[in-house]
Symmetry: C2
Subunit: 459 residues, 2 copies
């Protein structure tokens, strides 16, 4: 077997693979919307059939109270490492729909990219794993390592049930290394291995005033407007210098080391260029930190949605009786998501203006995660990238959250390798999400090199 | 002719009148929504036909760039005063629709009230004027005074075109007194004549960040979130003690006199009872003023709507690229609406955080209005109320705005009498708007007494 037979195979089957990817992307598997529960399940079913077609065995849709976990394995490489591949087949909601240039669930290839919800986060990357195994199986009749698949349908809602599945089935999911492709690389020609992720803590805030909406002429000035109370509360969460004003928020944050700050500085983007690319007048963030430090290693508190009162065309002179906000925090070691939720709830209670009622609802949580980058499984990943891309891989952290990473390390005690193929500009969670076909092609080859490397060198 | 023949007539025709009122209320004449333009016009047409049926002449739908003004007259009482009756047949939007117990445009009579959008504001009251004239016409063969009708379809969007209509047709609309029924009385058994209204200044605020929505994990902490900028801006508009923080906002406010404050104090509601009725934990407003002073004679700045980002079920980790707010101010003599808009725009520009773009759109304006309450047309109105209700009328001001009042006085130089029949609890601009049938009955008789009083005593 020549090490690059997979390359010939992938080239020959590219069109067929892209057609299969389109089919996968057509499932509107939005996990947070209960109306899409059947679509989520259908998508899992489709992936399971694809895995079986490749040669995976024990294909199973493990039920949970909401969306199933797809398990499958191929365990016929005695003496070789066992790799657990994690990914997710659920996607984020698609609104505002009117901003999509082509419909989110009708994949469209243009300008060397495939556009669709889930193209990069994370169906496209899950698909590449399956096709890398298919290429090796088709060209060598086997896989170089033992492989287990764990593809879940609840990542975008905080993986509420994977925890329990892993606890119940520790043996079934046991592995020597966990590989996840749900992260980005630094640029189209700059592969990178991510060794840290931020955690997540989500909350909803509800402010209620009168029994119903009131006329602002009759009552304006004599009762608290819930929107006034809400904006005052939300404004109190930050200081003008960009820091989070919640008492205790930074108490457990592990400071960046001088080495890390120096490594980050080398990778630092051109702030002016980034601002121009994003279309903002200037970048803005916590005083005393660079853009990469703010994105990868500092915690945040973001408003994801604020709403109340009249949103239609024209004027409506109303005092609404409700006002709402959705908040998520990105957390870094050693912040604790539940403690952060408590601190925010306490802050909001303490600052609530008179004349309204406040309710804070605690939602999804995910622990932050950082692993040493000198682990062999990480170093082999960097080599695989270099083999496919022709340039050395950088070592990065990432601002996003894959809360389940911390769960995997805690329950399965397995090293985690975050091998991403997305680009930060690919509009995850936003209209016009897309995935670069150049990274699709090179990523498939990176994964094949990695499986072969793990087989040769072990972990 | 006995002065109370109209009473017998109104009693005999009550069911028929309520059926006609239902028909009027079925028109979804929402002036601010362009999709309802035809409904607005149909409603004007219906009222014009009703006026003609009563005996009005020169019925005309005066076109404007948006919604027509209904004109009609009956001018066969030589030597008697000419009364101009102003009202509006357009209504506010109806969202949130799910909070209506019965559909807003399917009028429902229950508990002695008629429920529908426009029941009290202002179709119900316009309808009473027409029926008071019908009662006098049917029982005496004529009207006691000369009458002109001016019923417009743009009151709820700030009457943008009535001004030009009045300027062009000063002679046609000339009158000795202007009577408007678009206000409230103090209570079911406490009639009142309103001698002052607050003005209005409306604005929209738009904050824009990046080219599109961004992933809060990847970019969170490194760019300004438009929602953060918006809540900071909006929170800066008020001080914690309830005062408006906009520089210059109070500069032109005419202070309440000691006499007015004493008169207001006599009419003052029980704050604890009002809070309980509204369902709020406590009342809240500008330090140093009573509830009535805050509602009638102090200016306000209210957020009527705030929106941006994700509003759906669950969590969406997005940094939205837009955030919006709708603001209206209630103004008192001698504040100038356009100057107030400029002051707010300047305040917002001065306080805008870095990293976003701010746009402030100036919208509707209306001047505040106060008239002396010893004018004979006002005193006769008080007597008419007393004749119908059996108790003396109080003299009040009102927190709402009828911007056109100031326009009428300026263009036509005519005294204005605000004879309202609504109650403050009738949910104008809110779900479950309704109108008391007791006030419907007594209001019809009040108007008849008033026309007869004007004929007897002149103005």
């Amino acid at each position: 077997m020549a090490n690059t037979d997979f390359d010939t195979y992938l080239t020959a089957h590219r069109d067929e693979h892209l057609e299969q990817l389109r089919t996968l992307l057509r499932y509107p598997s939005i996990s947070t919307l209960s109306a899409h529960a059947a679509d989520v399940r259908d998508c899992a079913q489709f992936l399971g059939e694809m895995a079986a077609g490749i040669g995976f065995e024990h294909v199973e849709l493990i039920p949970t109270p909401r969306h199933p976990v797809l398990y499958a394995d191929w365990l016929h490489a005695p003496g070789k490492p066992t790799v657990l591949v994690y990914g997710h087949y659920d996607v984020q909601p698609v609104d505002p729909l009117e901003l999509w240039q082509t419909p989110p669930f009708e994949p469209d290839i243009r300008d060397g990219r495939i556009y669709a919800r889930g193209a990069s986060d994370d169906k496209g990357q899950v698909f590449m794993h399956l096709k890398s195994f298919e290429a090796l199986m088709q060209t060598t009749g086997q896989l170089p390592v033992n492989v287990k698949l764990c593809i879940e349908g609840e990542e975008e809602i905080g993986s509420p049930h994977l925890h329990a599945v892993l606890e119940e089935r520790r043996e079934q999911f046991a592995a020597d290394v966990l590989v996840i492709s749900d992260t980005t690389i630094l640029g189209p020609n700059q592969p990178s291995v991510c060794y840290g992720l931020r955690g997540l803590a989500a909350l909803e805030v509800h402010v209620t005033g009168a029994n119903g909406d009131l006329h602002s002429g009759l009552y304006g000035g004599s009762i608290q407007n819930p929107l006034h109370a809400l904006v005052e509360l939300l404004a109190s969460l930050h200081l003008p210098d960009g820091r989070v004003a919640v008492e205790g928020f930074y108490d457990r944050v592990v400071p960046l080391t001088a080495d890390e700050r120096a490594a980050f500085a080398e990778l630092s983007p051109d702030d002016a260029q980034l601002a121009a690319d994003l279309g903002v007048p200037e970048l803005f963030g916590e005083t005393g930190y660079t853009t990469l430090e703010r994105q990868w290693a500092r915690p945040t508190l973001e408003l994801n949605g604020v709403y109340g009162g009249f949103q239609g065309e024209g004027t409506k002179t109303v005092i609404p009786n409700q006002a709402h906000a959705k908040i998520t925090c990105r957390l870094v070691p050693n912040q604790d998501p539940r403690e952060i939720q408590d601190q925010i709830a306490a802050h909001l209670s303490r600052h609530c203006p008179p004349g309204v009622r406040l309710e804070v609802v605690r939602q999804d949580c995910g622990q932050p995660y950082v692993t040493p980058f000198d682990h062999p499984a990480i170093q082999l990943a960097a080599r695989a990238y270099e083999q496919a891309y022709g340039v050395p891989a950088a070592f990065t952290r990432m601002g996003g959250s894959i809360p389940i990473v911390e769960t995997f390390t805690r329950i399965l005690d397995v090293p985690v390798v975050l091998m991403g193929f997305g680009l930060a500009t690919e509009n995850f969670h936003a209209p016009n999400e897309h995935f670069s076909l150049a990274n699709f092609d090179r990523g498939l080859r990176t994964l094949c090199h990695y499986w072969l490397g793990l087989a040769e060198q072990g972990v």
